[in-house]
Structures are given as C-alpha cells and as structure tokens.
Symmetry: C2
Subunit: 186 residues, 2 copies
C-alpha cells in the first residue's frame, strides 16, 4: 500500500533494493537530459525504514549529532535518529518567523545559476557546538547542498565526521558514504 | 539528547505530556500577542514517536489513507503511517518541477490577508480516489489549512473521514480529534 506510484510506469525505470525492500523508481522528463530517476521517501514509510536500517553502519564512528535539511530527507533523518539514538538537527530552506539569530548560508547552484538559501535557527545551531556532526541526505548529486551544510557545521562550532546519503546520483567529488548509485538519466 | 531546546527557557512555558513523554514547549514572541508556545516534532524523534503512538486510536474507523502537508507534520505522518499500516500522501507548499497535473488549492489566511498555495502532485492525488481519507496535522489552529486539505480530498475523489492532530491551538470549529489543547499565548 505504501508503494511509490508517482509518475508513469516506464520499462526502463531503474529498480533499487535497500534493506531488502525493492522499488521501481519513477522517472521524470527534465529538459533535454532525458528521464531522471526520482527517489521519494516521503509517503513511503516502508522504504524509508529499510533505507535507514541499511544506512546505520554508514554513520561515521564518533558521530554525536546528525544534520539534515528539509524536505525530502526528513522522514529518513527521523528514522536514522531513532535507530542510532543520535539527535538530529534540521536546516530549513525558508526563514521561519520564530527563528532567533539564524545562521544563513547560500547554496550555489551549478545548473541554474540561481542560489538557494539555508537557514539554521540559532538554538539549533547551538546544539552543534563542540559536537562531532555527520551530514545526512536522501540523495547527494552535485554536492552543493552537502557543502553548504558542512559550512554550517563549521560556522556553528561543530566538527564534520562525514557525509551519509541513501543514494549518490551524479559526479560529486565529496567523500560520500551511500547505499547505491543512481543513474542521472535513463 | 533529543530534548527540544529551541528558544529561551521560560518559567511560564507550558509543559505537554503525550504518550508518556513530557516536553517543556519553547515560546516565541509574536507581535503584540505575547509569547506563543511552539511545537517542534522535527528534530525530536522520541517526542514524535510518543505522539504518533498516542494518536493511533484517534484515526477514524474505516480510514484507508492519511493525508498530510509539509513540513512540520512530516516525521509524525511517517510514524503514524508505519504504526497504522496506512499509506500516507503529502501535500507540498511549493510546486516541484517533477509534478504532473497537480491539484492546486489556496489556503486563505485569517491573520495576514495573504494566502498560501498547496500543491498535490497528480499521481499522488490518484492515490486518494475512491478512498476514505483522514487528514493528519501536528497542530490545528484556525483550521484554514485543514479545510484546504479537505477540499483537496474532495477534488481528488476521496471521502473525508476526519481531522486528526497532535495539538489543537486556537478556536477552529472543525471537529478535530486531538491529544491536547495548547494555549495560543502565555
């Protein structure tokens, strides 16, 4: 019942298996690139749990806090926090009215020339201070967001232990620990 | 370690206990209203799990699908889906590039005179068709978002079974099943 049914069936759609759970990924047409496989953990609790379980051993030793970013990785970070016993901190992509002295960090986009802005609320930034922090994402592609998160760890006074993602999809040069590589187009 | 530490300690901060887990809620100053208690499930997996467990009996009988909206309710909806065995569908607040024939629904704001727009991707809307659907939120205040979600259920061809929230915080006239009422100011 929780199977991912987004978008049209495609005979060339890649299949992924994580933690014993298999999904045929939907693909979406992106410009002239062709069809790009899309991972959706939101709306699929079975797949989310399986990925979190498989990602547990990828968390670098000594990690004390997980850092993630809204929105797609949120259920995954929740599960990983629950299973690892490590707290997680979430960076937002919009300023919230309640934020106090947030850290603000731009993500340079490699493809569109526009930049995205990350917001880390001050009291949450304080939870990273003096801590060993691992960055957790659903998919790491160019690595631009991951690098902006790493900069936030540093600015908050934490120490980065590493990058953990369910999937790598692209040519980042960051040392990412991931479960499976996805094609950038099919 | 997962205790909610956002914002300053406040001697008047309300405490809530759900599913045996107690949190002192941070409060934020909002205009001339005073301080408003703030619930944050994001970043607190222990509190999220406790609330989801306590909310299970609130899901109306016959419900086949849960419908929620980003962002704050997302870990809660994931947990509730996992524990109930019911799939969940998530409405977005921004158009995503991959969406196909999304349903678009305005949320009239009662306070600011500006409206927010909800986006339900077509393939996800199809998962509501002919189904009994319960709306799940972290907090229901005015009920404006809840009503917009109900309209989306109807437009997608589903039937609404009811509204479920962890907290009610305000004067909505909707028949919401909730765990606890929060003050709108302290």
């Amino acid at each position: 019942m929780t199977q991912n049914t987004a978008n049209q069936p495609n005979p060339q759609a890649p299949r992924v298996t994580v933690g014993g759970v298999t999904r045929e990924l939907p693909t979406v047409r992106v410009g002239s690139v062709g069809r790009v496989p899309l991972v959706e953990f939101i709306g699929d609790s079975e797949f989310t749990k399986a990925a979190a379980g498989a990602m547990l051993p990828l968390i670098p030793p000594g990690t004390e806090v997980l850092l993630t970013v809204v929105t797609n990785a949120l259920p995954l970070a929740h599960e990983l926090s629950d299973r690892s016993g490590l707290p997680y901190v979430t960076v937002r992509k919009k300023r919230r009215t309640y934020m106090q002295d947030p850290l603000i960090q731009n993500v340079p986009s490699m493809t569109l020339g526009v930049s995205e802005t990350l917001w880390l609320d001050g009291p949450h930034a304080a939870r990273l201070r003096g801590k060993q922090v691992a960055i957790v994402q659903d998919v790491i592609a160019s690595g631009g967001t991951a690098q902006a998160l790493a900069r936030l760890v540093e600015r908050a006074g934490g120490t980065l232990t590493g990058y953990v993602a369910a999937f790598k999809q692209g040519d980042t040069t960051l040392p990412v620990a991931y479960l499976q590589e996805l094609p950038t187009s099919v």
